[in-house]
């Protein structure tokens, strides 16, 4: 069996990075370490590229690698862990199904979803966009955002919840119109 080429690997990365990062986060990895673990998974995948059967789903394969990396985090001492909590990761890992049900959802579609979300964000009212920017781009906490926007922290959380829900609906709608099931 001949493994994929470097060029093919580059294509794999392009197609799967967004979904892989979402998948890693869904296993309870702390937000700041998500990209780190996703990159680690790609590096391992590249090192083992000869073992990969091109007829298989690369996304599922690299998700499996990432899943093992996350499981390994449990064995680290608390100071070096990249997960939020052991028991949270336990329940999330066990409820995840890497190769089968999530292959489509988190594979190529991850990038499509991110692309759709970007457009949805531009359609948000200005204040909602500012809230999202403060939370996700500037990584501010709800109390900090509350101070800046002269709101109360619970109101910020509620507002963010509503914006996220609006984004989810918008994204689903765009993908539906595009003929992609959500």
């Amino acid at each position: 069996m001949t493994g994929p080429t470097t060029e093919t690997f580059i294509e794999y990365v392009r197609e799967n990075h967004a979904g892989l990062r979402g998948f890693v986060r869904s296993l309870g990895v702390a937000p700041m370490w998500v990209d780190d673990i996703a990159q680690e998974a790609f590096v391992i995948a590249y090192e083992r590229l000869d073992e990969f059967d091109v007829d298989r789903d690369f996304g599922a394969w690299v998700r499996g690698i990432a899943r093992n990396l996350v499981i390994n985090e449990r064995r680290k001492d608390a100071r070096r862990k990249r997960i939020i909590a052991d028991n949270l990761t336990d329940v999330l890992v066990r409820s995840s199904s890497v190769p089968e049900t999530e292959a489509e959802e988190l594979g190529d579609r991850g990038t499509a979803k991110v692309a759709a979300l970007r457009q949805c964000m531009m359609e948000l009212p200005e204040k909602s966009r500012a809230l999202i920017k403060a939370r996700y781009e500037e990584d501010e906490s709800a109390p900090d955002i509350a101070d800046r926007f002269e709101m109360k922290a619970p109101a910020v959380r509620k507002a963010l919840e509503r914006v996220r829900e609006a984004l989810r609906k918008c994204m689903d709608e765009k993908l539906r119109l595009a003929g992609m099931q959500t």
Partner: protein, 565 residues
């Protein structure tokens, strides 16, 4: 649920997760004594835990099947609504007890775990969409750098980059600094070269969606650093030149002459004086084989990527430290001096490290297998320091004062000495500066001032000091002619201070790191009769001075504040 019940549930969860301390076990026992029904609940939960343990051994019970069976064992409803807990988790505000509660909920309800996972995925997608630092380009660029760093024997990135260069030799690479300046992360990567973005994104395009995250269609090379300053007769060797003498991809470079500052995408700046041979290994790593170099790590470097690694054959500089000078001889020895901030110097061959303090110089010698203390003599760094300090050029008798040295009389003739007072700082309040209209010479005399609000900007302060030759001035006498000098800075000048009161007032704010000239007993500004004049250029980069030697006990000083960003 009252406080005791809540606490009982928390401790119970901890016990089931084998995370109960001895003190907490005692506390749990007390709670059970107070209410025997709690003991019964513990028994039930332990039975269930054993059931789970057996179930987990069964491969067939992995995944959804396992969750369904587990959920069937437990019919309880959660105590707190999971949406609320999920929102707190997404906001990073869920405490340990909340996590326990959420986990318990997910164990009880398979759908809750699925909901949580979807919420986390969705949240990450939003983060990828909203944050330039998490954009696809940024991720792939970081991955490419990491792969290069971790696959040194492999030439993954180099191969692809060189192939692209061969394919498109006429195309310029991306200027890495534009990202920081424009606050927009659109940095082409080697991946982008090979055509468009993902198939999924393409599908969205095909469906008429205007993707905001458009790939850069041009065919460009990933550059991890670029030349931000070049001083003197800069010449690169033919085989070791950056692309277009400007852009660096990971690889080896040889500077034959001149001084250049290599600005890395991570924010660090390495100023190298030729002749020098060095490697750019990524956004956060460089290796100096030979030559003189000063690394300004810049406190801007932060985040998961860590600090900047600078290495030579003989020694490595750890990720701490702010400004560090290196002299590498190309083989077995190297000197290092920490100009600013502490740093860790390691000799990896010998397997030991040493913490260094500011202005502490050492020499590493592999042949003698030792790290020696050496006298502080920074003169070898004079040219690189001038560039590192942000002085683009000067005219007239101007001399840079090295870190750790004081302005002092030259002993020959008057000169203007320039010292960096504080490399970077954010003023905690307004700074009173003297009023000066750009483009017009003005007398240096006490006059109007204005408040400079830093607005959170990072500033750097310089002190320009006329050091006298000791001669007693006689008005109109030969030899007492005005000293003319100019200093051009690489950042915009936002404030100039020359009046004694404002100089004194700003001392505490600027916090000069070096004690000033010893003979300063009566800091005075020459009055208008002395004819001292100052001009701020229209582009606010250059200060021109016409100063008269005021005598041994009189000193003219000008403080210059530039905005770094």
């Amino acid at each position: 649920m009252d406080h005791f019940e809540q606490r009982f549930r928390t401790l119970l969860s901890q016990m089931l997760d084998a995370e109960l301390s001895a003190a907490e076990a005692d506390e749990l026992a007390h709670l059970c004594e107070a209410d025997p029904s709690r003991s019964e609940l513990i028994r039930i939960e332990l039975e269930l835990a054993e059931l789970i343990r057996h179930a987990a051994r069964d491969v067939a019970l992995e995944g959804a099947t396992f969750s369904r069976r587990f959920a069937a064992q437990v019919g309880d409803e959660p105590e707190t609504g999971s949406p609320e807990l999920i929102e707190k988790l997404l906001a990073g505000e869920l405490d340990d007890a909340g996590v326990e509660q959420l986990v318990a909920h997910c164990w009880r309800d398979e759908a809750a775990a699925e909901t949580l996972r979807r919420a986390l995925i969705q949240d990450d997608f939003i983060s990828q969409s909203a944050s330039p630092a998490r954009s696809g380009e940024a991720f792939i660029d970081a991955l490419a750098t990491r792969m290069w760093a971790e696959q040194e024997e492999d030439h993954f990135v180099e191969d692809v980059a060189s192939k692209i260069v061969r394919m498109h030799p006429e195309l310029p690479p991306a200027p890495v600094l534009s990202r920081a300046v424009e606050d927009v992360v659109v940095r082409p990567s080697v991946f982008a070269y090979l055509g468009g973005w993902s198939a999924a994104a393409a599908a969205v395009v095909a469906l008429g969606m205007a993707i905001l995250f458009q790939p850069t269609p041009s065919k460009q090379v990933t550059s991890v650093a670029e030349v931000s300053r070049a001083v003197g007769d800069v010449e690169w060797s033919e085989a070791g030149s950056p692309i277009e003498a400007q852009y660096f991809v990971p690889g080896s470079y040889a500077l034959k002459s001149g001084v250049v500052t290599v600005a890395f995408a991570s924010g660090a700046e390495l100023t190298v004086e030729g002749p020098a041979e060095f490697e750019v290994r990524g956004e956060r790593e460089a290796f100096v084989h030979s030559g003189i170099a000063v690394l300004a790590k810049n406190s801007a470097i932060s985040g998961p990527g860590g600090g900047f690694k600078l290495e030579t054959e003989a020694l490595n500089v750890g990720e701490s430290g702010e400004t560090i000078g290196l002299i590498a001889d190309g083989s077995s020895s190297a000197e290092a001096v920490v100009f600013d901030g502490g740093a860790e110097i390691c000799m990896p061959e010998l397997g030991f490290c040493r913490e260094m303090f500011a202005l502490e110089p050492v020499r590493a010698d592999l042949n003698r297998e030792k790290l020696f203390d050496i006298p502080y003599n920074p003169s070898a760094f004079a040219r690189t320091w001038e560039v590192t300090a942000g002085v683009e050029g000067n005219t007239g008798p101007v001399r840079m004062v090295m870190p750790g040295q004081k302005p002092e009389p030259s002993g020959k003739s008057s000169e203007v000495q320039v010292m960096v007072e504080k490399t970077r700082f954010i003023a905690k309040g307004d700074i009173e500066v003297d009023t000066l209209d750009p483009g017009h010479f003005a007398s240096i005399s006490a006059g109007g001032g204005r408040k400079l609000a830093s607005g959170g900007r990072e500033l750097r302060s310089y002190l320009l000091q006329l050091t006298p030759d000791g001669a007693v001035p006689v008005a109109g006498a030969p030899g007492n002619e005005a000293l003319e000098a100019s200093v051009t800075f690489d950042h915009e000048i936002v404030g100039i201070i020359y009046s004694p009161e404002r100089l004194a007032d700003s001392d505490s704010m600027v916090g000069s790191v070096v004690e000033r000239f010893d003979t300063v007993g009566s800091l005075t500004v020459a009055d208008s009769e002395s004819g001292d004049q100052i001009l701020l250029s229209d582009d606010r980069r250059t200060v021109n001075l016409k100063l008269r030697n005021g005598g041994a006990d009189q000193l003219d000083q000008v403080r210059v504040l530039v905005a770094l960003r």
